[in-house]
Structures are given as structure tokens and as C-alpha cells.
Amino acid sequence: MKTLKLSLASILILLFVLMLNISLGSVSIPLKDIVQAIFTGESSTSTWTYIVLDYRLTKAMTAIIVGSGLGVSGLLMQTFFRNPLAGPYVLGLSSGAGLGVALLLMGSGLLGLSISNSLWFSKTAVILASSLGSLMVMIAVLLTSVKIKDSMALLIIGLMFASLTGAVVNLLSYFSASDELQQFVFWSLGSLGDLSWSEVSILGVFWFLGLTLCLFLIKPLDALLIGESYAKSLGVNIKVLQYTTIIATCLLTGSITAFAGPIAFIGLAIPHLMRLILKTNKHIIMLPAVCLSGAVVMLICDSISQLPGFDYTIPINAVTSLLGAPIVIWLILRSRQLNF
């Protein structure tokens, strides 16, 4: 009964935040027209319909996918590595994506090629480069995980991948022209607003696949909470669990980073936030909770990044960290410890 009430309340909060997010923006549109546009596809002016349907709604959908996907990835990583510091980035996935994009944007500049002639081409190329970068790291991680059984060692190898790719990116940045460097910096600040409906649908497919895989992880991850040996003695196949977790994380983080850039903080913090609020570790509760709260937090961050009264939007990555880091610090100070 309590669970039912809580779920209902969180869905209502999500809907409320979603409406709030769509109503805010540099052009003020009456709520009536927004609702009308969403449900009938028409409103008082065609510009408003366009803004609501093709800009704000796609952005809100992206925010929901990004927030829930990264939150869930963080939850998987923290339980899998039994480490409160783990997040979707620890496997080096976003660094891989970063390297791919850096090679494309800055590497092509160094070679004297220009990819920014066509907007469509450069956007698609960035998505492809980012996916390829994540994929490469994912394959490297999978190959290492065949050899290495210890999840802590895998975590450290992930961090090493991140340092390695970071160093290459630094080198590229150092030798790049300012234009290309700026493009890369923009990508690395993250963005929710650049996607068309077809891109959101592609992202949505990966998100759906990733979350579906997670459903099968609920039971074995619960067993893993008390340690690998116990999980094994309860009938969990650790290797299968390892592969499934890595693949689910890659599907979620890889696709999200490809389309929205590396979004900081959400993956690490949302699971901690939910554990501290709900006081549970059970994944059957945590998974939907993290999914919903990730979406809500991302929508709030996005609303803040484009507060009315300001002509320009603040980069989403800055908002997530500026808002999130103090909250996590406060939560840790309050509970005096952080667990997985």
C-alpha cells in the first residue's frame, strides 16, 4: 500500500515537473496552448505549436531518458562494483565517447579537413564518433573482464582507460585551433536540446533495451549486495551477471553520451539520493525509484538551465554539478557515511 502510494506520488511529481519544464522558456506560452498542442497537435499559433512539439517536448523527453538512463547505470555500477564511488563513467565509457568526438572534431582539423560544412553531417558524425568511442572502450572492457575476475580491478582498469583517453584528448586540445576546441568544449558541456524526434526515438530504443535488460538484473544484483561468494552460493552466475551489467550500462550510457554529451553527476548521485530517502537497497524498489527520480532531477536541472528572464541557457552539465554536488555533500554530512 505504501509502495503504491509512493509510486503514484512520484508519477504525479514527474508529470508536474514535465509540465513545468515545457511551460518554461524564453517564449512564454499559456498553459492552455501547451496542453492543446500536446494533445491535439494544434494551438493558437503555429509557432507555439512548433516550439512546444518540436523543441520543448523533444527536449523534455531527452531529459527524461538521460536522467533515468544515467541514474539506472549508476545504480548498476555501484552494486556491481560494490563501491559507492562507481558511476556510469567509471568504465571509461564517456571518456571513450569524448575521445571519439575529440578525434573527429579536433583531429580532422589537425589533418586539414573540415567537417563543419554541413550542420546535419557534423551532428551525425559527432553521434557516430561518440558511439564508436564508447563501443571501443566497451569492447576493451569486455575483453579485460574475460581475463579479470575481480570487479575492483575492473573498476581501476576503467579509470585507467579514462586517464588514457583524457590524456589523448588533452594533447589534441593543445594542438587544435580555437574553433575546433570550442566545438569540443560545447559538446563536452552536454546538451539536451539539439535532438529531433527521429533522434529521440533512436535514443529511446537504446534506453528501452537497456532498461529491459536491467529487469533481469534485479534478482542477481540483490544477491550481489551481500558479496560475490554469497551470490554464487545462491545460484547466481557471476560471469553472466558481469556481461549483462556491462552491456546494459553501455547501451544506456553509450547512447546517452552520444546524443546528449557527457552529463556529469546524475549517474553517481541519484542512486545515493534514493537510498538515503527510501532507506533500502532492494533493486526491485531502487530501479523504478532511480528511474523516476533521475528523470525528475534532470527535468528540474533543465528548467533551471533556461530560467525565464535570461536570454541564454546555461550548459546542462554546469547545472547538474552546481546543483547536485552540494546536495550530495549535505546528504553525506547528514548520514555521516555513504554506502553502495
Binding site: L225, I226, S229, L234, G235
Partner: protein
Amino acid sequence: MRLEAQNLSIGYDKPRLEVVQSVNIKIKNAGLTAVIGINGSGKTTLVKNLAGLLNAQGGNILLYDEPLDSYNIKDIAKKISLVLTKQSLPQHLSVIDFVALGRQPYTNWLGLYEYQDKNHIIKALKQVELYEIKDKACSTLSDGQLQKVLIARAIAQNTPIIILDEPTSHLDMYHKAMVLNLLKDISINHDKSVVFATHEINLALQLCDSVILIKNKQVIQDTPQNLIHSGVLHELFPQDLIKFDEEAQLFKLNRI
């Protein structure tokens, strides 16, 4: 025969280290079996091998007369449950949630508990007398309570064999006796074969039906009485500090 080791040699690969050779053990029926030996003799390695957590270097382990590696991991989980030494547990994991994990081999793919599972969980909690604190977080329990919770999880798993690694470490004298009595009670009243590695040789000799002694890379299994009278216990430890008193059937400190 519930569990049997035939000519087993155990140890570690990379670097290859042979801990004990030609282990022959039989766990026939319900009863309490202690694995004793000095530090580093291979007690934990042996129980982990018996539980299927480590692979043997040679020989066979038979579970209900079939080779252990012919079972799939889920079927082993319905025959053998495991209790390991104390370790860090998630902060918010409650006693009942921890004990409930013991039902995992029986639940569906989503891990949902049915009426029968809940019955087993509650029965296990009542058996270790912790039902009243079932909603407390494991991280807030005393060592004695935590050990009982760990055992309750194994009881909830409802397997004919329970293997424990040093269930009495971290406990005071009273709680050591309490835990071993609890294990004895489970073995008698619930038809369980309980095998545990322990340093509590005095208690083990008093309570167990069978003792597995690891000494100089060799394994001897016998009843406590036979072991006591065979004289092997005299040479278990260097005799400068403690000695086995055959009359009292206990290890005692040498008087200085």
C-alpha cells in the same frame, strides 16, 4: 551419502599452491561436523571447495553421489547453503531482507516472494530468535546478532547441507557457545548436515558428531572420542604453550 570428498587435493592456482592432499571426507547424515586445524592449515580452503566456491586441483567432490561439477549452480544452491565470516553489508539492508535472500534459489526471475517463501523466512527468523528485530538494519546489529542473522539466511535457504566458515570468530565465549548450540539444534531437529571451520577446538570436541582435522597437509575425519584417544590432538600445536589434557578432553594452558 550427502557430501563426500574422494582423494581431493585443494589449493590455489597462480601461483600454484597445494594446501592439502588426498582429502577423504564423508558427510553421511544430519549432524554437526567441525573442521579444525592450526592457522593457515587450509580450513577455509577446504570448506570453500566443499561449497563449490573454489575448484579443486584434483580428486572428486560428490554431492548426493553425483560429481559436484555435474550440477548446475542453481541446483547446488538448493542443496548447500553457505555462511561466511563477517563482512561489510550495505547500510540499509534490513534483517528480514537479508534473510529473505536465502529464498533466491526458489523465487521467480524477478525475485518475488510467494507465501511459502515468506513462511520459510519467518520460521528462520523465529528459530534464531530475531523475529522482533526483523526490520532493523543489519549494519546496526551486534556481532552476536549478526552471526545469528547470517545463520538464519542459511536456514531460510532450506538446504540439507549448511557450510560455515568460522561462525564464531568475533564472538565472546558465551556467544560462541550460543552459536554452536544453535547449529547443533538445527542439525538435530531439522535434519541438516552442518559443516563448519572453526578455531574453537574445545567446544567442537564437546558438541560435534564428527571432526575433520587438518594436520601437516593431511586430513583425518573421525568422531571426537576416537580423535581424543588416538593421540593426534597432542601434536596439533607446538607444546610449549598449550597441551591437550586427555582426562579433561580439553586443550589447556601450560602452567608456568
